[in-house]
């Protein structure tokens, strides 16, 4: 928060009423404040409106969401669409699939990326910087370019339509390695050397010294990876053909093709897809937002 500007000293009690009169500066300040808050609140409504309507429509009886003028509040609340999703339409399964894949990818990639990120940051070996530069080039490559041959590769490995087919490409990410390396650079070398002198193995050092030292960025990366994996659409769409393996976004797109007529049902499906990621974000937003902002200042 910035310091108060010493020139704007407000003299209290000098006016007869509350606002206006002698304190034009104060009035201006108040007015500006009102305008700012008004803008902020309008902005907040715009940001939230689609999701509030989504929530509201998911509880409307069938057909109510397609009326004119549009209803914003359900005439009566019904849970039938949610019931339908979990019974007839198997959404529980897709929720499980999404959760399983997101958790596995997050856990595995955290280990793999942090090992590599630390190695690039702190372990001296021949060709390290060159290797890292080549790796960074990969950040420029759009991931879609790899998808066609990756699909054929997965076919030959018999991983089409399996969880692994979705998990494996996500287990290591150049961006994650980048992030970790950036943060790991700030670990004091003396700490590491001291541990080496004490005879600790490199793996031991990683586990006992490095990991605790980079915990904040690990938290950020974990949240980031979880959200990105949960929300991922194109690759799971390509590789999964069997609904038993569908993740939520793929299942939702599938449902919307079949049930384009059922507005309320689709809204319920969207609500269920969005709630987990929103919850993760809301509970852990501090780490997430810190990560974005910290990364940007450096970048």
């Amino acid at each position: 928060m910035s310091r108060t500007n010493p020139r704007l000293v407000v003299v209290e009690g000098a006016s007869t009423g509350g606002y206006g009169g002698l304190d034009s500066a104060r009035t201006r300040r108040r007015l500006t404040q009102i305008v700012l808050y008004a803008l902020l609140i309008i902005g907040a409504l715009i940001a939230l409106m689609p999701m509030l309507w989504m929530l509201s429509a998911s509880f409307m009886p069938t057909g109510e969401a397609s009326t004119y003028p549009p209803h914003f509040i359900p005439s009566r609340i019904t849970f039938s669409h949610y019931a339908d999703l979990f019974t007839r339409l198997n959404l529980g399964r897709y929720l499980f699939n999404s959760a399983l894949i997101a958790v596995v990818v997050t856990a595995v990639s955290l280990v793999i990326n942090s090992l590599a990120g630390y190695a690039f940051a702190k372990l001296r070996f021949r060709g390290r910087d060159r290797a890292f530069r080549i790796l960074s080039l990969g950040l420029v490559l759009p991931v879609q370019v790899a998808m066609l041959p990756l699909f054929l590769l997965m076919k030959n490995l018999h991983l089409i339509n399996t969880y692994w087919g979705v998990i494996i490409p996500g287990m290591a990410s150049i961006f994650g390695i980048f992030l970790i390396r950036q943060y790991a650079l700030s670990i004091p070398d003396d700490m590491l050397d001291a541990a080496r002198i004490d005879g600790a193995s490199e793996l031991r050092i990683y586990w006992s010294v490095v990991v605790p030292g980079i915990l904040p960025i690990l938290a950020t990366l974990a949240i980031w990876t979880f959200l990105a994996t949960w929300n991922d659409f194109m690759w799971p769409l390509i590789v999964l053909s069997d609904e038993a393996h569908y993740t939520l976004p793929v299942a939702l797109a599938n449902l919307s093709g079949e049930h384009v007529q059922d507005t309320e049902l689709m809204m319920a499906g969207s609500v269920l897809t969005v709630i987990p990621v929103l919850s993760v974000f809301l509970f852990l937003q501090r780490y997430y937002i810190q990560g974005v902002m910290a990364g940007s200042v450096k970048g």
């Binding site: 089409i160 590789v239 053909s241 069997d242 093709g257 079949e258």
Partner: protein, 390 residues
């Protein structure tokens, strides 16, 4: 696909009771994604034992060598007798002399309409010729507001332009499926009729995803006609409100000089070559082909049976909506049996959309179609010339 998947789950317990050692899992995919999904499954060696395939897809899957020929099973079968099926329908499953699918239900397209709105326009029976039909729609439009249309024809559907072309006598593809026939006069005639319906304001140029709830539109009289298939009998019965239930009917497609042709569609049950349970799968296919089961399936979905024996049941004699279908099935035309059909069908409506919205002239559209489709068929021509194609 679609409702069939849900209903199939209800028929399975009967089968499993007769065959306690066989367990069946059913999986549903919407029609819009089924084609890609099944192909992905094939590419990924993850095919089911049996799949319900749209019969226009059978040639494609045969080209992939992914289906098992069924003649040896069918010849020995007591349940499945070839001569009991509508011959035109059975034929759609035969590629290069071998049978690759057992017809499961037949599908053709015809008109669902609001009989009261038709009557208001002065017609007690549905028109039988294109001329009559156009006149009826003109009358109806004059009795409607700007936002209402006599017929709903989403511009991103291929059956309509193809149907009218078939009625006009077009083969769609020529030379054994080697080249497009879009610039020939027959296709043009059908295409002009199709786009004409939009130009005259009888149909609104919307795509299917823009229609948020067609049942409501039908109830409210915002649309009076809709071209669709037998499964809509069930959908209409389930979803239209009681007031509208007394006001709708089906009718066969009008033709140029009299009753017209429609598409010989339907779905087949096909057996994947990679299946490790072919014998059991065949038993399921036999079970599903029993007239009694087909009748049950019909009752649950409105999908029409491909076996004449099933049609003799009183269920049909009394079903006023199915009568139009029984009639139409006498005049159905199969589609070109090329693996590229799905892609060609999509291109047809995509070009069609350009013409409807006047982004291109009809000449440009048809020339573009020939050009694009000929390019799509290039590999087929190459393989046929090398006689490597199936």
């Amino acid at each position: 696909m679609g409702r069939e998947g849900e209903v199939l789950s209800q028929l399975i317990p009967g089968f499993e009771k007769e065959h306690p050692d066989i367990h069946v899992e059913v999986q549903q995919i919407p029609w819009t994604a089924a084609h890609e999904k099944l192909l992905t499954a094939y590419v990924g060696d993850a095919t089911p034992d049996i799949a319900m395939l749209g019969n226009t897809w059978v040639p494609e899957f045969v080209a992939l060598n992914s289906l098992a020929p069924l003649d040896s099973f069918a010849d020995k079968s007591k349940e499945i007798r070839r001569d009991d099926f509508f011959p035109g329908i059975w034929k759609t499953n035969v590629v290069n002399g071998k049978t690759y699918g057992i017809p499961w239900y037949v599908d053709t397209r015809l008109i669902f309409y609001r009989s009261d709105l038709l009557a208001k326009a002065g017609y007690k029976e549905f028109p039988k010729t294109w001329a009559e039909w156009t006149a009826a729609m003109k009358k109806m439009k004059s009795q409607m507001t700007d936002k209402q249309f006599p017929i709903l024809m989403p511009t991103n559907e291929w059956p309509q332009p193809v149907m009218f072309a078939l009625e006009a006598g077009s083969p769609i593809l020529r030379d054994g499926g080697r080249y497009g026939a879009f610039e020939q006069p027959e296709f043009r005639k059908g295409f002009d009729f199709y786009t004409g319906l939009y130009q005259q304001g009888f149909a609104s140029p919307v795509s299917s995803s823009q229609v948020s709830n067609l049942f409501q539109e039908f109830e409210r009289g915002n649309i009076a006609m809709y071209i669709s298939g037998p499964w809509y009998i069930g959908e209409f019965k389930n979803r239209l409100d009681s007031a509208t239930q007394k006001k709708w009917m089906t009718a066969p497609m009008p033709g140029i000089n009299g009753p017209g042709v429609s598409l010989a569609l339907g779905s087949s049950l096909s057996l994947f070559a990679a299946s490790k349970h072919k014998r059991e799968a065949w038993q399921l296919m036999e079970y599903m082909s029993r007239p009694a089961i087909q009748l049950q399936f019909y009752v649950l979905t409105g999908d029409l049976p491909p076996r004449k024996a099933a049609w003799q049941d009183t269920t049909f004699a009394n079903n006023k909506y199915a009568k139009a279908f029984r009639d139409q099935l006498e005049r159905v035309v199969p589609l070109p049996q090329v693996p590229e059909w799905e892609e060609i069908a999509t291109t047809i409506f995509e070009h069609g959309e350009q013409a409807i919205r006047k982004a291109k002239t009809v000449d440009q559209t048809l020339a573009g179609l020939d050009q694009d489709v000929n390019a799509m068929l290039e590999k087929r021509r190459y393989l046929l010339a090398e006689s490597k194609a199936p």
